[in-house]
């Protein structure tokens, strides 16, 4: 019910929305909860386990009960969601309807469904869990449902930096921000509310002679006008991380109909100092029947009146153990809302009031199926029922100290306010102020905020500009700790998860006495609200049940995020191909133009094959391309291989230290194959080292390992060998490089170079500068195909032109471009290696390259590779395979066995790493690791692929099957 003359909503701007298909009207400035309450709605949801009717319990982000699906978004707290025209909200976890929910039957079974019941049953027979129990439980569990649609809405992430981050824009936060801002510090003031002002918006109080909301607006106006201040409303600081880093979620457009704006933005805020002024969260008293719609926190009832002009009921009973709740009584009365009774657990309460006061009394029961109808007050030895549609409860206030625990610190118990307060210094650079620090009066909060602001300025080394402290209410209400009413019936703690005081008592009875055990056994505090209103009360109940004090019982740990954060917001930007960078070669568009399917390699894309007219499968294209290279000439882009420029007086000695071979003896103009080991003696990568000049090498890495090798070389240069004069630079992206391979490769090279290339000047494994079509390029005579091969490099900006020129010229010679499929077959025919063989577990010895380990001088991995375990004869060694059985197919990933042996682990002799069909040899060929393989050439082994139901007999052969002598590439 709206109350005239109250509220900060704009009554001139009505807003139409719907709940469960029914039209409702609210005002601009309403939340879903306030608008529904204004319309007299109390039933807003169902609890998780017993499907009990639930209404709104709080007026903030701590809400455990009023959860709804808004549009496509489940589990939205109605207390936070602002209404907008056309908003569609639906209730959740109820079927067939919110009023008549079939699973309410669970409530009747509650004696059997207490804490942890599921650990004690459903234990078989085998597989019945997956087939019967689990599906039923899963369907019943959960709250809202995802829509099933791909979330393609916009989300953003951003960074921000500041001197001071103030979290919360209530009295304390505003004062801290004000003094810091006036003193010139860069300030970010973040508040989870749509409107800043914090508790000022929910109270009827004067600050500095003005109504509290006006005072807040004046301060905010001053802050907004300052260039060194960023105000961030609708922004919840969700986590405190190391070294002044905070995560924050801004609800950018959740209060608007669908439009262009991102829905949410996840901020990474780096702050030199921070003030936590997040206020406090009220807690209830656990009494029987305290979960009915209409039972609310007293501060929330007051808040709905002042902020939204909504009376939460027509006849309100207030039940409390503290003075603060009496303000709710006064404010309701002043607004003309009938207070049917005030029930205070403390015996010493003034009784001279215009409303009935029950001192030393408690609420012992309630009535009402879908909403509160009456409460039973028990005191002075008698029990009376009082009709009421709203029960406003307060058990005191807990500082919202969650962020101070995000680095693992436990809060400390403060007896005076019967609550936990932050451990000072728990998060370096962050200080709590105001109610978040346990200061519970407005004047105190203003002063504490100012103090915290000044302390931050001092830590920042800034002088403080004078800020006067406004006058405000300075009385701290009294409180006598009172947690639970001992009476028949269930008293709820965790309203969402349906955890009652009986569950906590049962946990203690079963010796789940540690607070962590209790939490996990009962699921207390594990719902969407993470127990913001219930954890401390549950702790007190546990303390009671185990005969310990609250501080001795301890607390569970608060962990980020403070309120839930959508995966989409924190994962913003990754949708589709945004997950990782995409790297494109200079020939990329040319390859795509020819219809080449591009495949991902490292972060690069490379052409799989270049389809020709009439070719139906990739195999046809690949076979043709292999034949082209073997018989004429092929061109392929090898720019993705890592290229590292190594320069300096000691470049050669440096390379001797990182390669197994010796690079210092390489003559200028020559290239050598090299193997790099990790320090543990296994092969890290292979590639070539080309000596361009005395003190200038260019080395290549595999595509996938380029970054790792660069980091490794930097490590060696800076950490292990700072004595060497060497400079390193990745030039992978600066040079486009193309391999030209085949019997007619020299003709093709000469068709694009300005100077004539001859075998006499350019023997196998030579390198040097050449002008290419008027551009200063480089030529390397190396081969990964086994054919006469060259690699031509030009600065990347000429890459595409050179590619197109090479392809055109190659086609005139009966050749053309070839892709990764053909490249793979060509190298398998030659026994050349890729990461299929260099998979990180192989040694030079395994690969048959033990001869490449120089005996003179130290190098990375030398000692590691010499360990006995890495040289054992029964290690798996690289071999080639040819199928000789009835089935002529080989499959990478298949395992090898002796011909007559059963295909089980104990008999496994090795596995196939690479396999492909060789059109050259008209046979499948494979590379494999086989136990003691080098001594088993000529043996027949059985290849078994269980997964694809293929097995065949293979002959073990040397890895180099085609042109083993290498005559073709040496030319």
């Amino acid at each position: 019910m709206r109350v005239e003359g109250y509220g900060l909503v704009d009554r001139a701007r009505p807003v139409r929305f719907s709940f469960d298909g029914q039209g409702h009207e609210g005002f601009a400035g309403d939340t879903l909860a306030s608008a529904l309450l204004a319309g007299g709605m109390r039933l807003m949801g169902r609890s998780f386990k017993y499907h009990r009717p639930r209404g709104v319990f709080t007026c903030g982000s701590e809400e455990p009960s009023a959860l709804m699906t808004v549009g496509d978004t489940p589990n939205v707290r109605a207390t936070v969601q602002e209404v907008f025209a056309g908003l569609e909200a639906r209730s959740q976890n109820a079927w067939p309807s919110l009023k008549w929910d079939a699973l309410e039957v669970n409530d009747l079974l509650s004696p059997f469904l207490g804490a942890g019941f599921y650990y004690k049953t459903f234990m078989g027979p085998h597989r019945l869990w997956e087939r019967l129990f689990e599906p039923v439980i899963r369907r019943a569990a959960g709250l809202g449902a995802l829509s099933g649609a791909r979330d393609a809405a916009r989300y953003e992430k951003a960074f921000a930096h500041c001197d001071l981050l103030v979290i919360g824009a209530g009295p304390a936060g505003l004062m801290a921000a004000l003094v810091a801002a006036r003193s010139g510090a860069e300030v970010i003031l973040a508040d989870e509310g749509a409107r800043m002002g914090g508790r000022m918006l929910l109270e009827d109080e004067e600050v500095g002679g003005l109504p509290g909301t006006l005072w807040a607006d004046e301060v905010l106006a001053e802050l907004a006008a300052l260039p060194n201040v960023r105000l961030m409303p609708r922004t919840t600081v969700t986590g405190a991380y190391d070294h002044g880093t905070y995560g924050a979620l801004e609800r950018v457009a959740l209060h608007l109909p669908d439009g262009d704006a991102p829905r949410e933005c996840f901020w990474r805020i780096v702050a030199r100092r921070a003030v936590l002024a997040a206020g406090a969260i009220e807690r209830p008293i656990a009494h029987p029947g305290n979960d009915r719609p209409g039972v609310m926190l007293a501060g929330a009832v007051r808040g709905y009146l002042h902020r939204y002009g909504v009376a939460a009921g027509k006849r309100v009973v207030v039940f409390a153990n503290n003075d603060d709740a009496h303000r709710t009584v006064q404010d309701l009365h002043a607004a003309g809302v009938r207070v049917a009774a005030v029930v205070d657990s403390r015996p010493e309460v003034p009784r001279d009031a215009p409303w009935p006061v029950h001192a030393g009394a408690v609420v012992a029961a309630t009535r009402g199926r879908l909403g509160l109808e009456a409460v039973q007050v028990r005191g002075a030895g008698r029990e009376i029922w009082i009709e009421a549609d709203c029960l406003a409860v307060s058990g005191g206030w807990n500082p919202a100290l969650h962020l101070t625990s995000h680095m693992g610190a436990r809060p400390v118990w403060n007896e005076a306010i019967a609550a936990f307060v932050p451990l000072p210094g728990a998060v370096p650079g962050l200080e709590a102020a105001g109610a978040a620090a346990g200061v519970m009066d407005t004047a105190g909060c203003l002063a504490d905020g100012l103090r915290a602001g000044k302390a931050a300025l001092k830590a920042l080394g800034r002088r403080t500009k004078a800020v006067s402290l406004p006058e405000a209410v300075a009385e701290v209400g009294g409180i006598d700790a009172f947690w639970q009413v001992q009476a028949k019936g269930r008293a709820w703690l965790d309203l969402q998860n349906d955890v009652t005081t009986k569950d906590v008592a049962l946990a203690a009875q079963e010796n789940f006495r540690s607070v962590e055990h209790m939490k996990r056994y009962t699921t207390q505090g594990m719902a969407t609200d993470q127990g913001k209103t219930s954890n401390v009360t549950a702790l007190a109940v546990l303390a009671d049940a185990t005969g310990r004090s609250i501080p001795a019982t301890g607390t569970t740990t608060f962990r980020p995020p403070y309120t839930p954060v959508s995966i989409a917001a924190m994962g913003a930007g990754a949708l589709g191909d945004g997950f990782a960078p995409q790297r494109f070669t200079t020939s990329d568009s040319a390859a795509r133009q020819r219809g080449a399917p591009m495949i991902e390699a490292g972060l690069w894309y490379r052409p799989s094959y270049f389809p020709a007219p009439g070719e139906a499968t990739w195999r046809e294209a690949s076979d043709r391309e292999v034949g082209m290279v073997r018989q004429a000439v092929g061109v392929t882009d090898v720019s993705t291989l890592g290229k590292i420029d190594v320069q300096g007086r000691d470049a050669g000695r440096f390379l001797d230290f990182v390669y197994t071979g010796r690079m210092s003896t390489l003559k200028p103009g020559r290239v050598r194959y090299g193997l790099m080991l990790r320090e543990d003696g296994h092969v890290m990568d292979d590639g070539t080292a080309a000596r361009l000049n005395d003190g200038h090498y260019l080395i290549t890495t595999t595509t996938a390992a380029a970054g790792q090798v660069m980091q490794h070389l930097d490590f060696v240069a800076q950490v292990l060998r700072p004595d060497l004069d060497v400079s390193l630079m990745s030039v992978t992206e600066q040079w486009a490089q193309f391999a030209v391979a085949g019997p007619r490769a020299l003709e093709l090279v000469n068709a694009v170079t300005d100077a004539e290339i001859t075998d006499a000047e350019w023997p196998f494994m030579s390198c040097g500068a050449v002008p290419v079509a008027g551009v200063a390029g480089r030529l390397f005579r190396i081969s990964f195909s086994g054919e006469r091969g060259y690699e031509i490099a030009v600065p990347a900006r000429y890459g595409e032109s050179l590619w197109r020129l090479l392809v055109a010229q190659a086609e005139m010679l009966g050749g053309g471009p070839y892709g990764m499929e053909a490249l793979n077959v060509l190298r398998i025919e030659k026994g050349f290696l890729t990461h299929a063989e260099l998979h990180g577990r192989t040694t030079a010895f395994d690969l048959g390259m033990q001869g490449m380990l120089k005996s003179e001088g130290d190098f990375i991995g030398k000692a590691g590779a010499a360990r006995p375990g890495l040289l054992a004869d029964d290690r798996e060694q690289l071999v080639g395979l040819r199928p000789v059985g009835a089935v002529k197919q080989l499959l990478a990933g298949a395992h090898l066995f002796e011909a007559g042996a059963e295909a089980v682990r104990e008999n496994s002799q090795g596995y196939v790493t690479s396999a492909g069909y060789s059109p050259t040899l008209q046979s499948y060929l494979g590379l494999a690791f086989l136990k003691g393989g080098r001594a088993r050439l000529g043996e027949t082994v059985r290849m078994v692929d269980h997964l694809r139901s293929v097995q065949t007999l293979c002959e073990v052969v040397a890895p180099q099957v085609f042109d083993a002598g290498g005559g073709r590439m040496r030319g």
Binding site: D242, H243, R268, V270, M407, D714, V719, P722, A863, R867
Partner: protein
């Protein structure tokens, strides 16, 4: 988390790669136990450590960072090239 790069100033941890304890590499001819120490065995303290980080997303420097593994407090960082 942020690390103070001597070249670049305070930078977000996402620019860095971790390597582990800053240990001296055994010289040539060191025995298998010395290598086992260097490659595998760790003090792994809960407290102060000196470890190696690579500023690959920045200046490319290898740093020795003094740090606490329990609190994550960072005491300082210097270039590894100046010695471990």
């Amino acid at each position: 988390m942020r690390l103070p790069c001597p070249c670049c100033g305070d930078r977000d941890i996402r620019e860095f790669t971790y390597r582990g304890a800053a240990l001296a590499r055994p010289g040539e001819g060191a025995g298998i136990d010395r290598w086992d120490d260097y490659l595998h065995l760790r003090d792994n303290p809960a407290g102060a450590v000196r470890d190696l980080w690579y500023h690959g997303g920045g200046c490319g420097a290898w740093l020795v960072v003094e740090r606490d593994t329990v609190t994550h407090a960072v005491d300082g960082a210097r270039l590894a090239a100046e010695g471990l």
